[in-house]
């Protein structure tokens, strides 16, 4: 069965969803991602959906789940590149994905993650309880 490739870039993971996903593929992405976050102790996850033509409630729920699960594993998720038509439809559908951080494109998304990781590190360093 097909799987969506997950790329590792330093302390971040990168996923580009390009295919018209069926539900099983979405479920396995969720499993693979959480496994890899745990394995590499990743601090950030970037999911690019700029080529995705629709996001229905199932995919929307999967994205929200990934963000929540990553959060539990101490990683921040950023969703990038959602198309206007997809965003309008998702809002009309009743999903606002309010727990997920978003960015216009991958570049902005990476900036956002770097910034977030840096802020977290600054917050953690003074008392030296981390690391």
């Amino acid at each position: 069965m097909d799987r969506i490739p997950i790329l590792k870039m330093g302390d971040c993971l990168l996923v580009t969803i390009q295919v018209d996903m069926h539900d099983q593929l979405a479920v396995s992405l969720q499993e693979d991602l959480t496994a890899q976050i745990a394995k590499y102790a990743s601090r950030g996850v970037l999911i690019d959906i700029s080529t995705l033509e629709i996001v229905d409630s199932f995919i929307g729920r999967m994205l929200a789940n990934i963000a929540a699960m990553s959060r539990v594993l101490d990683a921040q998720t950023v969703l990038t590149g959602m198309q206007p038509a997809v965003a309008i439809t998702l809002v009309e559908l009743g999903m606002s994905l309010s727990g997920i951080k978003t960015a216009l494109n991958v570049e902005r998304g990476m900036e956002l993650l770097r910034q977030y990781i840096q802020e977290e590190n600054e917050y953690r360093e003074p008392d030296g309880s981390e690391e």
Partner: protein
């Protein structure tokens, strides 16, 4: 008035992907705007998943319909599954039996111009939607 029609099976997860593409083709043929196409395809995805998961499989009929100067796409999802005991409740936001967000039926209703649901316990469910250009 029905200008043309076609029937597609919904028996597997792959079929759900396929009927989404069918809906997009039919909408594109009528030169729906991108937003309208996306709304119709998203509603198709929700309803086809319902047919597969709650209705234990069924069919999607796709039709090009005409009403005066307007043209649109009509989709009919039909299954012979267990049916929906309480339609009013199933149409409320957040009501779910499948462990989802409960936006499938209520959400797709908001994405189309016309929405009709008929269900009989033990006989199955038929959902008809129309999106006008």
């Amino acid at each position: 008035m029905v200008l043309k029609s076609d029937v597609h099976p919904i028996k597997s997860a792959d079929d759900v992907v396929r009927v989404r593409q069918v809906a997009r083709q039919w909408a594109a043929e009528l030169k729906f705007s991108l937003v309208d196409q996306t709304k119709l395809v998203t509603a198709t995805s929700e309803l086809a998943r319902n047919t597969l998961e709650h209705g234990k499989g069924g069919t999607m009929r796709v039709e090009q319909v005409e009403n005066g100067p307007r043209r649109g796409v009509r989709l009919t999802f039909e299954d012979n599954g267990p049916g929906i005991p309480n339609i009013e409740r199933a149409l409320q936001d957040g009501y779910t039996t499948g462990g989802g967000l409960g936006l499938g039926l209520s959400g797709s209703k908001r994405l189309v111009n016309e929405f009709e649901i008929k269900s009989e316990a033990g006989r199955g469910t038929t959902v008809t939607i129309i999106r006008w250009k």
